[in-house]
Symmetry: C2
Subunit: 348 residues, 2 copies
């Protein structure tokens, strides 16, 4: 279960061991090690099995399918397969359901890899001996049903695999690139390319910082929530937006809030953050205090924004009252920011 | 001057007016408006003038050269020129030396643009009627001599221009792209390209989150600083590293500290952040509490790391004592994190 103040997708279950990424001999040995664990992604969706056939929505009802080298080695040889090194299982409490290691084992903990392939999905599913396996179609919703441990692994794997799927050409010269360092680098194959000289970021996976903010009314007793047209009926959430180049987090909170709602923000306070691997955002959660109250939404982005009194928020959050509005699920940092505000003193 | 808790490169002097980026008619009118301000970059370095010929290092001694439309309109027509929209001058205190607007003016505040060109630098310098103009060679050092206001503008302009200079090809298909939305988007010209469909980030400027941390000894009275081989003699600074995909800020602080110094970190607390436009980092400054003390540096990245007692830090920071170690200049967030620790209670 979620620990207090822990956001979904945040648990670091594997030790990334970044020093091993340049150790080709070690990496190759671990790839063919029978103890290694492989996750299989098709079109950036991981193969999972659901506990119940009825497709219940509860968290933990979905588990990652784990493969051994022997079961995937033919895929590893295909040129279109991308294989990345995730890390080494942390030595955990042997009672944890996560660990694939036997408690009595004296060997090194297993090494995890993830594969993305464009092979036929139905044929891939046949590789799995378990029942009820699938590649979920809607990552924004379906990937919220994993355990905390597996969600953390998926956050890392999906972000890096998504980068490979979108960045296989060199943005500096348009030429082909090759994967290096266990999947954490792509280098241009054109030896004349500027991307091989000087300070640059084109070779490294991208992480997009996004601010997400719960804006508090100057009276301390209402918060500002908005809805996009694509949201489920009745759902309102925190405003959010991409941090722009040359901007601080605090300034991004002020700019995005004013752009989307017309509300001006004064003090901003960081609360917590959440990796969101769709494809590779880092959601940086803040509380912010409004210094104006008139709402004027940017209709391109937001359908409606409103001040919600504390009591309505409590009703939605703790009593499941859907009559006024619906709050996003607890796996979202928006939910956690609202809960944080409700549970703290009303004055920042 | 720096306000308390304000980091260099952080002041937001222009109103970005992102809604105007899609308004081609407005943008074109403002580009040829005689009140508009142009900054001129060559090889990502802005044209500046220095007050003194001896090249003093003091902050504020360097000023951006500002151009009018008539002075740069030939450059705007060249295909290799990149022109980006920065924003509109905020209506500020008329006594501010920043504002290019006359206090009595009733017209709209001036709109700012930045140009990057590969024309001959010597010829570009001749365009400027002022003396002592140059394109500084070493951005990491030279761009620290601007006023707070101009530093904020350069942070934005240089990050976005650097993105255009490195990302002119589509990373998804390798094809050519075109600039859009005043410089905040590049779209693939290949109408079949996957980058034009679905959720993606290839079209948008990149911002790389970096954690930078002052790690405090468990005794509360020493802090961990390290030096890279390239640092000036005697300088020690905070450890820092890129946030990886699928990772929280707090976990990045723990991972990078352990990777670089061998020291294990427990609690992490966000302090402030700083845009660092070399090329487009967002430095996220944290205090962190060590839970182990043995140092074992990663020799690929760090030459030496040490625990520095509070008194030695005070001597270096406030007394300019360079005998034990030299702290980075006050324009760096590393300096501000150290100062923050010294000025607060020793216990987090
Ligand atoms: N890195 C990025 N990834 C996706 N969309 C981006 C990115 N940066 C800017 N955008 C734009 O920002 C819009 C969403 O607005 P916001 O999240 O409020 O900043 C998207 O529709 C894009 O037009
Ligand atoms: N976005 C990025 N830009 C530049 N270097 C990166 C990036 N991401 C990872 N790196 C690598 O990180 C190294 C610096 O290590 P660190 O700053 O401690 O993470 C660089 O030498 C690169 O190999
Ligand atoms: Mg938004
Ligand atoms: Mg935005
Ligand atoms: Mg927005
Ligand atoms: Mg580092
Ligand atoms: Mg690193
Ligand atoms: Mg490092
Ligand atoms: Zn290249
Ligand atoms: Zn393309």
């Amino acid at each position: 279960d979620l620990h207090p103040h822990e956001n979904y997708f945040s648990r670091e279950t594997l030790d990334r061991q970044s020093g091993k990424r340049t150790d080709k001999v070690w990496l190759e040995a671990k790839q063919s090690d029978s103890e290694s664990v492989y996750l299989l992604f098709s079109n950036l969706s991981p193969m999972v099995r659901t506990q119940q056939e009825d497709g219940s929505e509860a968290q933990g009802d979905m588990k990652l399918c784990r493969f051994r080298y022997e079961e995937v080695k033919d895929l590893l040889l295909k040129p279109s397969t991308v294989t990345i090194f995730l890390g080494i299982e942390k030595t955990v409490n042997p009672s944890s359901s996560f660990s694939s290691e036997k408690a009595e084992s004296l060997s090194e903990p297993p090494v995890w890899f993830a594969i993305n392939t464009d092979e036929d999905a139905a044929a891939l599913l046949e590789r799995c001996r378990e029942k009820n396996c699938s590649f979920p179609r809607s990552p924004n919703r379906d990937l919220l049903k994993l355990s905390e441990e597996e969600a953390g692994v998926v956050a890392q794997a999906r972000s890096v695999l998504a980068w490979h799927s979108r960045y296989s050409f060199c943005p500096t010269c348009g030429g082909a690139t090759k994967m290096e360092e266990g999947g954490y680098k792509r280098s241009c194959l054109n030896s004349e390319c500027r991307s091989l000289q000087g300070v640059h970021n084109t070779c490294y996976p991208r992480v997009d910082p996004v601010v997400i903010m719960l804006v508090i009314h100057p009276d301390g007793n209402q918060c500002l929530l908005g809805r996009k047209k694509v949201f489920p009926v009745g759902m309102f959430s925190c405003l959010a937006g991409f941090v722009e180049p040359g901007e601080t987090l605090e300034e991004a909170v002020r700019r995005e809030t004013e752009e989307e709602s017309g509300v001006k923000v004064g003090p901003v306070q960081y609360v917590s953050c959440q990796p969101w691997p769709m494809p590779s955002n880092l959601m940086i959660g803040c509380l912010a205090v409004a210094v104006s109250t008139d709402i004027k939404v940017d209709e391109n982005e937001i359908e409606e924004a409103r001040w919600f009194p504390r009591q309505q928020v409590i009703d939605s959050l703790f009593r499941g009252d859907r009559s006024v509005f619906v709050i996003p699920p607890r796996q979202t940092i928006a939910h956690q920011l609202v809960r944080h505000w409700i549970c703290m003193n009303s004055n920042l």
